[in-house]
């Protein structure tokens, strides 16, 4: 179990990560989603023991670990824009194995194996300037898998990959996890990939974990102009009403399960009612990490996602392009 406990991390006095607890259990498939600048890469660097947190502890199997220690060999990070050493692809794959003193025969066996699985065997003799960005990313993942870490951290692993390469990558990770108890923690800004692949999807916004699922997160500025706890914040072209005593910069989270979906505006106590059109429907399997149901994405002046049942989709005849009304109470909006 790799854990961050009471971790706060600052760059130049600015808090970029503030987590009470973040754990990656053995064999888990965790996805961390969030917009650029939400702290995903910092989180992964702390988990990878590449940086020491400004405050708090990193624990591996209950023991406090620090950068530079032997614990780092249990965790390997593939950065968002990975870099290869000035050497051939094969020499890059050999690197982590050589520093572990693994025998030549075993080094060759592992390289052939991982190169075959990630379809990079034809690249083994090439050097970094002869590779595309997508190929560099695949080689970097192969290089990390070759050392067989207990925890593999991937920062936007499919950002430079085409769809086929991304599927190959996710299939390889699934095969690896089926073969041995490998925990994977993946940072992504693509919810679809996160839900398709991970058992556990967590959202990060402004360095903090979201208390709700990662959809419908908005960075806003709550002004003091309004009286009482009912505040309105501009999001896209709409104003979202929220009950909060917080002022200043904040994150608004609208839980998708708290959004009522209808064809026409409802006479209700909901302070937030927005009309728009459905842009997409996505069905999540019960084991797919999304909790089941149909994710209805609509453009209501801002893109919002609601989760409804299959029956509701049928009854309301929801389809891409159909008109829709999203309603939710001000008290349903989480502010943090």
């Amino acid at each position: 179990m790799l854990e961050l406990v009471g971790v706060r991390h600052e760059y130049d006095g600015r808090v970029v990560l503030d987590l009470e607890r973040f754990a990656v259990a053995p064999g888990a498939a965790v996805a961390v989603v969030g917009p650029n600048g939400s702290g995903k890469s910092t989180l992964l660097r702390l988990l990878a023991l590449l940086e020491r947190p400004t405050a708090g502890r990193v624990l591996l199997d209950g023991t406090v670990v620090t950068p530079g220690g032997a614990a780092r060999r249990h965790v390997t990070l593939v950065e968002q824009r990975p870099i290869l050493f000035r050497a051939t692809v094969r020499e890059n794959l050999e690197f982590g194995l050589q520093v572990r003193g693994i025998t030549r025969a075993e080094v060759n066996r592992r390289i052939e194996n991982v190169a075959g699985r990630l379809a990079i065997t034809p690249l083994l003799g090439r050097r970094r300037h002869e590779l595309s960005d997508g190929e560099v990313q695949r080689v970097a993942v192969a290089r990390a898998l070759a050392v067989e870490p207990d925890v593999l951290l991937l920062d936007e692993p499919a950002s430079s990959a085409d769809r086929a390469a991304a599927l190959t990558l996710y299939r390889t990770l699934a095969e690896e996890r089926a073969r041995r108890p490998l925990a994977v923690c993946l940072a992504s800004h693509q919810l679809e990939d996160a839900y398709r692949w991970a058992d556990d999807v967590r959202a990060l916004a402004d360095g903090r974990l979201s208390p709700v699922t990662p959809e419908n997160l908005f960075r806003v500025d709550l002004t003091t102009a309004e009286s009482g706890d009912l505040k309105r914040a501009c999001v896209g072209t709409v104003e979202i009403a929220a009950m909060t005593d917080k002022i200043g910069p904040a994150i608004l989270a609208v839980p998708p399960t708290d959004i009522f979906v209808s064809r026409k505006p409802l006479a209700s106590s909901a302070r937030n009612t927005f009309q728009g059109r459905v842009t997409s429907l996505a069905r999540r399997g019960p084991g797919g990490g999304g909790g089941g149901g149909v994710h209805v994405t609509a453009d209501v002046g801002v893109e919002l996602i609601a989760v409804v049942t299959e029956e509701a989709v049928r009854d309301l005849a929801l389809a891409p392009g159909s008109p829709v009304v999203f309603s939710f109470k001000a008290s349903a909006v989480r502010v943090f």
Partner: protein, 231 residues
């Protein structure tokens, strides 16, 4: 023009006739250059690496000192070294004044800040992801340092070349602590100065050409060692 052409003719004649004095001076210069470059880079490259990668109290001040030392006048350096090595100096017992070792020592002190400052810049130029990648793949401190240095090898080779170039071209300190003694401490630069002042332009030019040849050979050797520019 006749004067210049005559100078070139005499230079070539001296070079190809295998003149013992000319080649003696060249070999001594080469010996001092190699010894001083090895020592200066042996100390300066690790120092530059530490300055570039290890955060410590006073690092910025240390970098400032090293960068300032780049512009230290060689004549003043020679003067200080003369004071230390002369009979009344604290290092008189070493007995190095007017020896090739004194010239080498001056050259080391001259090239050390060059090696350190340029090595620090070279290492700072390496993408920080290289260090992180080496670390996350399990490399310890030394292996990580070696990996970073390997990435900077072209720039570090240029540092060595620059240091050697400064060492063999240096004259102020060599003249002061070496004394330009024929057959003992006469280097290419001090000899060129002497023969020019004596009006022997051909001999001075021959020695100058050898100096250029030395710099060229060192550059070619280092480029070969770098592995012919593989990325």
């Amino acid at each position: 023009m006749d004067f210049l052409a005559e100078g070139f003719r005499r230079a070539l004649a001296l070079l190809f006739s295998g003149d013992a004095e000319v080649y003696g001076i060249a070999l001594l210069t080469l010996k001092i250059g190699i010894v001083a470059t090895v020592l200066a880079c042996g100390l300066g490259l690790p120092l530059g690496f530490v300055l570039a990668t290890r955060p410590f109290w006073g690092r910025r001040a240390a970098l400032t000192v090293v960068n300032t030392a780049l512009a230290f006048p060689t004549v003043v350096l020679g003067l200080l070294l003369y004071g230390l090595l002369s009979r009344r100096g604290p290092l008189a017992a070493v007995g190095w004044l007017y020896t090739w070792q004194a010239i080498a020592l001056g050259d080391v002190l001259l090239a050390l800040p060059i090696a350190a400052a340029l090595a620090a810049a070279a290492v700072q130029g390496v993408d920080p992801r290289i260090r992180r990648t080496a670390e996350t793949l399990g490399a310890g401190r030394w292996r990580t340092a070696w990996t970073v240095a390997r990435e900077a090898r072209f720039a570090l080779a240029a540092v060595i070349t620059t240091a050697f170039g400064h060492v063999v071209a240096e004259i102020g300190s060599a003249m002061t602590v070496g004394g330009n003694i024929r057959g003992q401490t006469r280097t290419l630069t001090t000899a060129v100065a002497l023969y020019t002042s004596q009006g022997d332009f051909g001999l001075a030019l021959a020695l100058g050409l050898i100096l250029l040849l030395l710099a060229l050979l060192v550059n070619v050797a280092l480029q070969t060692l770098q592995g012919r520019g593989h990325a």
